[in-house]
């Protein structure tokens, strides 16, 4: 369960202050795979950033007792001159995985990413797909209660996409996902709860098809 309490979030732009959410209170129920859908610029990614703790609300609180991942597939945090292995070890240290637990996680990422000897090469020599593979494996190496997925599964080749989807399916029992996407196929496949974001409001649908239908009406 994640609770939003009177959350207000705005950004300063040259045209004045733009409010994305104004005094939004909402409870995301526990044990559901959530899809965040809405038009471009509706605030899906902002909400995800707030949930992930990347950004803080202007006022209000976001409360949860569960662990929430960083956005899955995030590649921006990689240091280009370090190897894939060193970057993975960096995140392990940040998340307190030392010794055996670090070795285990590094081995997991190495086998998940399947980039062979490139794992020992600097990240700046990687292609976008290779980066995504390492980043994706890195997210899965840690056990979170919630995984935040922002279009991450749309990168990579078909083999990788299938593998990523399967990896999430395996985890559905003990972990949930919050998915930001425009692909209704993914929503049907992975989620059982839809949050439609429109005009700074959150409209929830227990029924996935009903949510998709409402989204289709918007666009």
């Amino acid at each position: 369960m994640i609770e939003l309490k009177n959350v207000t979030k705005s950004y300063r732009t040259n045209a004045g202050r733009q409010y994305v959410f104004r005094d939004v209170s909402y409870v995301i129920p526990a044990n559901r795979n959530v899809a965040l859908i809405g038009r471009n610029g509706a605030g899906k990614s902002t909400l995800m950033r707030l949930l992930g703790g990347l950004d803080t609300p202007d006022s209000g609180k976001i409360l949860t007792a569960q662990s929430i991942s960083w956005p899955v597939g995030l590649t921006g945090g990689f240091q280009g001159s370090l190897t894939g292995r060193e970057n993975v070890k960096f995140i392990c240290r940040v998340y307190g995985a030392e010794g055996d637990s670090m070795r285990e996680k590094v081995a997991f990422v190495e086998s998940f990413a399947e980039i062979g000897k490139y794992f020992e090469h600097p990240v700046k020599t990687y292609s976008t797909g290779m980066r995504a593979r390492v980043a994706f494996g890195l997210s899965l190496a840690f056990d979170f209660d919630y995984y935040l997925v922002d279009e991450a599964m749309s990168v990579g080749d078909a083999h990788f996409k299938a593998k990523a989807t399967a990896a999430f399916r395996d985890r559905v029992d003990n972990a949930k996902i919050i998915l930001v996407t425009h692909s209704m196929g993914q929503v049907r496949k992975m989620c059982d709860y839809v949050m439609l974001i429109d005009n700074g409001k959150i409209i929830a649908f227990e029924d996935v098809e009903a949510g998709i239908a409402a989204y289709m009406k918007l666009i």
Partner: protein, 261 residues
């Protein structure tokens, strides 16, 4: 996910960032390790050659290379901390997506890295000057020297944090801040003894805390270092305390804006 205390998280993050920073610097170029040590060494050698060989200056009672080294190397440390901290947030911005990593961790980690480099450079240079050239490089008052150096590091840290926060708010200022360090170098008594200055100049530059730090460091190194009127080690300590509180306060006020992408 196991629960850790805030202190344990901060410790882990600072350790991780420090390692990453050092590895990143060493791997940035071919022979990275060599260049990192060679850059300050080349600067010092260049300065020493200009002053002793080209200008033929001597400082009565002191060996010129040792005199210069004891000022230049700590000054470079303080300058580097200031300028590296200024960029600490902008160059680590992507990392703040991991919620454990905060700008403060990046600032502390960079300071630690600079201090480690300083120790390596100082030991290497002084060791070779003492061993191969036979100069006396021992430190007469080691405790005072360490305390003064720590004051210098804390002062540089405070200034660095202030520059960083100001530079994040108004990025155009960064160029100006960088330029500021050249005049500062010349008014800090790094490459000349203070007593060689005309009497009426010193009051104009003695507001500069770096001058007091550099001179106090030299006082700690040499057994019979002449006392210059107007220099005292308590002044930089006071300035440091004030600037440190300003820095911490500014950080507190701007911590959310620093994280924002």
């Amino acid at each position: 996910m196991h629960n850790r205390s805030s202190l344990a998280i901060t410790r882990a993050v600072i350790f991780a960032l420090t390692l990453r920073e050092i590895k990143g610097r060493l791997n940035a170029r071919r022979l990275g390790t060599f260049w990192i040590l060679f850059e300050p060494i080349a600067h010092v050698i260049g300065m020493v050659l200009i002053i002793t060989v080209i200008r033929g200056r001597t400082i009565p009672g002191f060996e010129v290379p040792v005199f210069l080294l004891t000022g230049i190397v700590p000054f470079i440390l303080m300058k580097n901390i200031c300028l590296k901290l200024m960029e600490a947030v902008s160059s680590n911005k992507a990392l703040f997506s991991y919620r454990q990593i905060k700008p403060a961790d990046a600032l502390v980690a960079r300071t630690l890295v600079e201090c480690c480099l300083f120790v390596c450079v100082y030991v290497l240079i002084m060791g070779s000057v003492g061993f191969f050239a036979g100069y006396d490089v021992s430190i007469a008052h080691p405790l005072e020297w360490v305390v003064m150096l720590l004051v210098g590091v804390l002062l540089a840290f405070s200034i660095g944090v202030i520059l960083c926060i100001a530079g994040e708010a108004v990025p155009e200022l960064k160029t100006f801040f960088r330029l500021m360090f050249l005049p500062l170098y010349f008014i800090s008594g790094v490459v000349y003894p203070l007593w060689a200055l005309p009497d009426n100049v010193l009051p104009w530059i003695s507001w500069n805390p770096f001058l007091h730090i550099v001179d106090s460091l030299r006082w700690a190194v040499f057994p019979h270092y002449p006392f210059t009127m107007g220099v005292n080690p308590y002044y930089p300590i006071k300035v440091t305390l004030v600037l440190f509180f300003i820095a911490v306060g500014m950080y507190r006020a701007r911590r959310l804006q620093l994280v924002a992408v």
